[in-house]
């Protein structure tokens, strides 16, 4: 009888041990690396004011600022940066060249199939950049189609998908590498109109000294308004959970608003109570 009990207890103990170590073994690779003291690697492109490198490669821009606030809440202060072309951000993440995408990616269904997003960090909209005075009267994609205008945007931007959905013909689209090339194309008159995020367009207006103006983001289709999240690999689920947990504590808080203020992020961009990544993944 005692023998029976002993062997039962033993098997329970062995079972518990196995389950315990198995769980430790399946904590994701990113969490393991962070716990081992390695720096977390931020991946972003050059998109002012979202995310861009400083003179020494420091992560600037409000998405980086938000990510750093959340990471600090998690106790992570050791980080590195990797500056990429926008279109290379997702393949780079999958290739393990960096750990989180802080470029300021809209949560789209097509992207959710290839990566995970954190809970939303804000709600944003797109707008169009046109020459001052808007000579062709373009306010949204339908205007682009009807005027036959040349539309420039960045490869891999959410606006490429949106333009296609709205029916902009391929020969009216011009794809360049990113924000800088968009402004260069507009400056050189190679395109009649650019479509990008509202923040990006405002930045270009500032840089252009009145040569261009931004259209009203409310003129864009309603479904192009979207949430932005921090991108992670599908496999880093534990880290994602911890990140979301930390974000819930700091969202809209003092550090969050203070560090993003200089880039133009205001309380109007806050994600709000009902913002959800699952909703965006399913409906955008």
């Amino acid at each position: 009888m005692l023998q029976n009990l002993k062997s039962k207890a033993l098997s329970v103990m062995v079972g518990a041990l196995l389950i315990g170590t198995a769980q430790a073994a399946t904590a994701d690779e990113l969490s393991d690396r962070i716990n081992a003291g390695e720096p977390i690697r931020l991946g972003f492109a050059t998109a002012i004011p979202w995310a861009y490198p400083g003179d020494n490669g420091e992560p600037l821009g409000f998405v980086n600022a938000i990510a750093l606030v959340v990471l600090e809440e998690m106790g992570i202060t050791n980080y590195e940066t990797s500056v990429n072309e926008w279109a290379g951000l997702i393949p780079g993440l999958q290739a393990n060249r960096y750990d989180i995408i802080t470029g300021g990616m809209y949560i789209l269904k097509s992207r959710c199939e290839n990566m995970n997003f954190s809970d939303p960090i804000g709600l944003f909209g797109d707008a169009m950049l046109v020459p001052a005075g808007n000579p062709k009267g373009i306010h949204n994609y339908q205007d682009v189609i009807s005027t036959g205008a040349k539309l420039v945007t960045g490869a891999g931007f959410n606006t490429v998908e949106a333009a296609k959905k709205e029916g902009v013909p391929e020969d009216q689209m011009m794809l360049v590498a990113g924000e800088v090339e968009i402004l260069a194309a507009m400056n050189a008159g190679r395109a009649d109109v650019a479509v990008q995020t509202f923040f990006g367009a405002k930045e270009h207006v500032d840089k252009s000294n009145g040569k261009f103006e931004v259209t009203n983001p409310a003129d864009m289709p309603e479904w192009t308004k979207n949430w932005v999240g921090i991108g992670m690999r599908h496999s880093d689920t534990d880290f994602l959970a911890a990140f979301n947990e930390a974000m819930a504590k700091v969202v809209g808080g003092e550090a969050w608003m203070a560090n993003t203020a200089e880039y133009g992020y205001t309380e109007f961009q806050l994600p709000g109570e009902d913002a959800s990544t699952e909703f965006a993944c399913a409906n955008r």
């Binding site: 861009y52 500056v83 072309e85 393949p91 290739a95 393990n96 840089k207």
Partner: protein, 221 residues
């Protein structure tokens, strides 16, 4: 700001990019030279299969674009489980590509040594090793150095492509400075001048000196 102020503020940053450019070039050069010698020799062995392998390698890497090879190594290899750092991806792509061109130069060089030299060495009872080392290789050197010098300058220029896979070299720094300052003429103009200075006033004189050295050695021996 005028150009002088521009240089004072930004030249240090561009110089550090130039250092990375030189690092990439030297590493790629070492790889390319090694591959050139190995595959050049493979092309002239008597074994048909070995010749075939070298032929395929050379034609493949000469027949495809360097940028395509670079992107493939950087974007596609990780999908197959091999993720190389941007630096390594750049060095390997450049090394493999220029190694193929170099192999043809080496092959041409060895074949250009007059047959009479091989026969004379044989007649004078040189061992095979001595023949290669004392007679053939020094003469090969003088023949291949001019085209090899051209390839080296091409390699220096080709390093600019690694900026497209996020290596922080001179080209990358120039793009970043352009993105933040929009002083495009100064930024890219200076980058061009730095590349020019590196090629014309450092690399080419060094290669010329090598040619003179090789010529002198052949004259002596």
């Amino acid at each position: 700001m005028n150009y002088w102020e521009f240089l004072i503020q930004y030249l240090p940053k561009m110089a550090s990019g130039a250092v990375m450019t030189v690092s990439v070039m030297i590493c790629a050069l070492l790889l390319a030279v090694t591959i050139s010698i190995i595959f050049g020799l493979m092309r002239i062995t008597n074994s048909k299969p070995i010749q075939g392998v070298a032929f395929v390698y050379i034609e493949f890497f000469r027949g495809t674009s360097l940028l395509v090879q670079l992107y493939w190594i950087y974007y596609v290899l990780p999908l197959m489980g091999l993720t190389l750092s941007p630096f390594m991806s750049g060095v390997i792509a450049l090394g493999l590509n220029f190694g193929a061109y170099g192999a043809e130069v080496v092959r041409g060089g060895i074949q250009a040594v007059p047959k009479a030299q091989w026969e004379a060495a044989l007649a004078l009872n040189f061992s095979s090793k001595q023949r290669i080392r004392r007679i053939i290789i020094p003469q090969t050197f003088t023949i291949i150095l001019p085209p090899a010098a051209n390839l080296t300058v091409e390699l220096l220029k080709a390093t600019a492509l690694v900026a497209l896979i996020t290596v922080v070299d001179l080209m990358f720094v120039a793009k970043q400075l352009n993105a933040t300052t929009w002083l495009s003429a100064q930024v890219f103009g200076t980058a061009l001048l730095v590349y020019y200075a590196m090629a014309r006033f450092a690399l080419i004189p060094f290669l010329r000196w090598l040619e003179v050295l090789a010529a002198r050695k052949v004259g002596k021996s």
